[in-house]
């Protein structure tokens, strides 16, 4: 088992844990540029807190899993805890562009039944980063 543990430890070293390739500010700037508009944090808050009808029935709102206070932990429908979305509470948030796009892709579809626009992404990140 010792050899196995050592091998696994080497694997952990060899594989990048998290691709920290961006920052919340850089992501917001990128989405703003794509949208051609300044981010509106209040619009992001409203989108986050609202109940929607276009998506999947079990996830009518971002708050279903993330709660209405993104500085606090959320809980997935499976029962698993979700780290707070606000970067002030979870510094690693929004530092991996592929991860951000993956979860926007999944969750906008689950909650809204469509992709989020670049403007909506900018608004959401601007609000979450302001908390």
């Amino acid at each position: 088992m010792k050899t196995l543990s050592l091998t696994l430890a080497l694997c952990a070293l060899a594989l990048p844990a998290v691709a920290q390739d961006t920052t919340p500010a850089a992501l917001i700037a990128g989405y703003e540029a794509a949208a051609g508009a300044k981010a509106d944090p209040a619009a992001g808050r409203d989108l986050f807190l609202a109940n929607h009808t276009g998506g999947k029935p079990d996830t009518p709102s971002c708050t279903t899993c993330h709660t209405n206070d993104p500085t606090k932990p959320g809980q997935a429908r499976t029962g698993k805890a979700i780290d707070p979305l606000a970067p002030s509470a979870t510094p690693a948030r929004f530092t991996d562009s592929a991860k951000v796009e993956k979860w926007f892709g999944r969750n906008c579809d689950s909650v809204l039944g469509r992709a989020c626009t670049d403007a909506e992404k900018a608004n959401l990140l601007a609000w979450l980063s302001s908390l």
Binding site: L4, L10, C11, A14, L15, D58, A76, R77, K80, R106
Partner: protein, 160 residues
């Protein structure tokens, strides 16, 4: 930064099912130990919402069906890019309940393609008697193994 030699070792490991302690699952009085998920992609991707369930809990045809329906994965979109999805499906089907490199000796649901581990007959039997409503509330969902089985993520499902 990936070191080539280490990466080769990791890929070799990822392709080999790693069993907890012994070569196969052990059934004890209050539960059992089984293979831990040995594919880092599977653990990272699937493990972000629930524990990376042991591949040996379901037959290969179930994993194939689950991985084909990630756009509505028990009520949520859990889609992956094609490369990641293919890797995870390969791992799961190669280590499934009914294939030789997995447990290789029993099909938990002959003639059916179950999508939920919690609907397998042994699961219902094991949990029906023992799980109180209070425990169910605490776990929130039957998919939250670790709420009661503290070693679940490591393949230990003892009766704690």
């Amino acid at each position: 930064m990936i070191r080539p030699a280490s990466l080769i070792l990791c890929l070799a490991l990822a392709a080999t099912p790693v069993f907890a302690e012994s070569e196969e699952e052990e059934e004890g009085e209050g539960g059992f130990r089984t293979a831990v998920a040995a594919n880092p992609t599977f653990q990272t991707e699937c493990g972000s919402c629930h524990i990376a369930y042991p591949a040996g809990f379901l037959p290969a045809r179930s994993w194939t069906a689950i991985m084909a329906g990630l756009d509505d994965h028990f009520g949520e979109n859990a889609t992956l890019d094609d490369k990641t999805r293919t890797e995870i499906e390969g791992y799961l089907t190669q280590n499934a309940a009914d294939v030789q490199s997995g447990w290789g000796r029993r099909d938990p649901a002959p003639g059916a393609t179950p999508l939920r581990i919690s609907e397998l007959s042994w699961f219902v039997r094991e949990h029906g008697r023992e799980v109180s409503n209070q425990m169910k509330t605490k776990a929130k969902s039957m998919s939250n193994c670790a709420a009661c089985h503290q070693g679940a993520a490591q393949g230990a499902f003892e009766g704690d």
